[in-house]
Structures are given as structure tokens and as C-alpha cells.
């Protein structure tokens, strides 16, 4: 059933969004009202942050290559850089969330499958049974 204001907000009789809803957001060079848009200054600051993160990555590599925390730290730093570039430079933070869903889906499925594949190739029967036997004899 339609509600008052449906027509102006571009909703159909059952409340679903129709394509007319998106007429408002189309002036070139601007974005949806109410969303902040990064300025050139912001972009340069972000570039600075990315540089610092890269420096940290290299620094901790030189600090202690044997450290147990090295690999997790590097992965975290890389992920942060990754998300910053995607969110700001690729504008995903400000765009339609469905685009983020599309990319997250691809990234998520890839991570799950390839971590799984890595685990399977790395820890196969011979290794598993050896591990079991050694733990059983303890």
C-alpha cells in the first residue's frame, strides 16, 4: 500500500524504490546532499598517511624478523592501507553501498577459498597422520 510522500520520494505503490527516486542526485561535479566529499587537501593527507604506514611496515621488518608479531602486524598494516585506498581514493565510502557489497563479496569469497586451498595443500594426510601419531604417543 502506498504511503503519503511515496511519489515525491520516488516510491511505488508498495513502497519499493523505483528508478525515479534517483533523479535528485545527478548534478555533475557534486554529490548527494549531506555527504562530505574529500577535498584535494584530504587526498594529500591520505597520501601522507599511506606513506607513513609504508614506512612503519618497512621499519618493523628491520626491527626484528624473528618476532612472532611481525607477520600479523604486517597483515594488519597492509589491510589498513588497502581499506584506506578503497574507501577514499576509490570513493567506496561515499558511494552507493551496493558497490561496496559487490566488492566485499568478491574479496570475501576469494579470501575464504584461497585460505582454504592453502590449508588443504599445506596440511595433507601425511602430515596430519604424522601429527596425530606423535601426539598419541605423548
Amino acid at each position: 500500500m502506498s504511503r503519503p510522500g511515496d511519489a515525491s520520494s520516488g516510491r511505488g505503490p508498495r513502497g519499493e524504490r523505483t528508478s525515479v527516486a534517483h533523479q535528485a542526485q545527478s548534478l555533475p561535479g557534486t554529490h548527494e546532499a549531506g555527504h562530505e566529499h574529500p577535498t584535494e587537501k584530504t587526498y594529500i593527507q591520505i597520501a601522507g598517511i599511506l606513506t607513513i604506514l609504508t614506512v612503519i611496515e618497512v621499519a618493523i621488518y628491520y626491527i626484528d624478523q624473528e618476532a612472532a608479531w611481525l607477520v600479523p602486524a604486517l597483515l594488519v598494516l597492509a589491510s589498513v592501507k588497502f581499506l584506506i585506498v578503497i574507501g577514499f581514493y576509490m570513493h567506496l565510502k561515499f558511494d552507493d553501498s551496493r558497490l561496496a557489497q559487490i566488492f566485499s563479496f568478491g574479496l570475501g569469497v576469494s579470501l575464504a577459498i584461497y585460505i582454504g586451498m592453502y590449508a588443504l595443500m599445506h596440511f595433507h594426510r601425511a602430515l596430519e597422520l604424522t601429527a596425530l601419531m606423535t601426539s598419541a604417543t605423548r
Binding site: H22, Q25, G29, E40, L50, A78, K81, A119, F123
Partner: protein, 243 residues
């Protein structure tokens, strides 16, 4: 009596609406899209999502074959972190220039857009030059595709990344040429934006490669990964109630 649920539209849909920023007035009428997202932009994001599967397979292959090299040269003998850090920095900066190019075009600063597009292409080329130099250096030290697993996986992963960068540079130079002929105006921002999405993606793949291949030390990592994998398997066994 049935309501009329099948009603024809009075005319073809109005044009110029339903696109997000930088939509293309220059083209003929486009009816609005059902999601409000520009179709070509959606296409690029879909492609990038699938490219995650592509690079994921290549990087996973690299990870799987760590420590599978029967002979040298080994990574710790070859990898030059300072050198690679500089080239990683170059690529990162190219993302900055890319986004500045787009910002300029969206503000109708055509000259600015050309300068920044050229800068991005230049930085990309510098990166490729750096890669080429690194490859020849490693090759002189005896690393080859056929020699050992490190050579095979290293050259394959970085090679395909480099191929992606090359495509990006060609794309940018083409856009630059179009711009110089007056074909890349404010209303064509979407074209540049889409090229930018591709370019940034290539950069973030390098962010991952830089850590996975260069920074994570070879031997230690394998031990750690082995431990982590063993943990996963032990947990799974407990959960499934096996043994």
C-alpha cells in the same frame, strides 16, 4: 475485476537522471538504471571483484610454494627492501595523482586534469621501469622461471601485476590523448573515474604483494603459517569430534 497492472509508459524514460556523479551528458539519452548506479561503473566494480579471485589464486600459489625451492637463489639473497619500498611508494603516489586528476576534471579544470593524468601515467611507467630493472637484476643473480619455485612464482605474480599496470598506463595515455583533442570534459568525468578505479585496484594489489612477497620473511613465515594451519585443523577436529 483485475486492476490494470500492466500499464504502458507514456513515452520513453526521461534522460539525464538516475546517474551518480560525473554522468555522461555527452552520450545519447540513457534511461535511468534500476539501482541508480551507472552501468559502466558497476561493470568495473564487478570486474575488480572477479580480479580478486584471479590475483588471489596467483598469490595463494606463491604462498603454497614458499620453501618449495629445491635450489637457489633464495629470496633472502635477492630481495632489496629499500629498493622495493621506493617503487611501492611511487605506485602509492600515482594513486594520489590519479585522484587529483579526477578531482580536477570534476571541477572543470581541464588543464589540471591533463597534468595529473600525465603524472599518473609517468609514475606508473617509473614503477614499470623499476620492475624491469629488478627483474633483470634478479635474472643476473640466477633467478629464472625455470630455475626454482621462487623464480616461477615470483615472476608470475609480479609479471601479471606488471601487465595490469601496463594496461593501465596505456589506458591513461589514451585518455590523455582524448583530452588533448578536447574529448574529455567535465561531463565525461565518469570515464576518468572508471579508469581511476582500475588504477587504484592495481595499486592495492601491490600493497598486498609488497607485504606477502617482499616483507614477510621466508622461513619464519612458513613455520608460523604451519602452526596456524595446525591450529585450524586441531580446532576443526575437536569441533567435528574426530579422534
Amino acid at each position: 475485476m483485475a486492476q490494470a497492472v500492466l500499464t504502458p509508459e507514456a513515452q520513453t524514460q526521461p534522460h539525464g537522471s538516475g546517474h551518480d556523479t560525473g554522468h555522461d551528458h555527452g552520450h545519447a539519452d540513457h534511461p535511468p538504471t534500476s539501482t541508480g548506479i551507472n552501468s559502466r561503473k558497476m561493470l568495473m566494480w564487478l570486474f575488480l571483484a572477479s580480479d580478486c579471485m584471479f590475483f588471489g589464486a596467483l598469490i595463494a600459489t606463491y604462498m603454497i610454494y614458499r620453501n618449495h625451492s629445491l635450489t637457489g637463489p633464495f629470496p633472502h639473497e635477492l630481495i632489496d627492501i629499500p629498493y622495493t619500498s621506493v617503487s611501492a611508494f611511487v605506485l602509492l603516489m600515482s594513486s594520489l595523482t590519479m585522484v587529483l586528476a579526477l578531482a580536477a576534471l570534476q571541477k572543470n579544470d581541464l588543464r589540471g586534469s591533463r597534468v595529473w593524468i600525465a603524472a599518473t601515467a609517468l609514475l606508473g611507467t617509473v614503477f614499470l621501469g623499476g620492475q624491469f630493472f629488478e627483474f633483470t637484476e634478479f635474472h643476473h643473480e640466477g633467478l629464472s622461471l625455470q630455475g626454482n619455485m621462487f623464480g616461477a612464482t615470483f615472476f608470475t605474480v609480479t609479471g601479471f601485476h606488471g601487465a595490469h599496470v601496463t594496461v593501465g598506463v596505456v589506458w591513461l595515455l589514451t585518455l590523455l590523448w582524448v583530452s588533448l583533442r578536447g574529448g574529455l570534459k567535465q561531463e565525461d568525468s565518469l570515464d576518468l573515474e572508471i579508469a581511476g578505479l582500475y588504477w587504484h585496484f592495481v595499486d592495492i594489489v601491490w600493497i598486498v604483494i609488497f607485504v606477502m612477497i617482499y616483507l614477510i620473511p621466508y622461513d619464519k613465515s612458513t613455520e608460523q603459517l604451519h602452526e596456524a594451519t595446525a591450529q585450524i585443523f586441531n580446532t576443526a577436529r575437536m569441533v567435528l569430534g574426530i579422534f
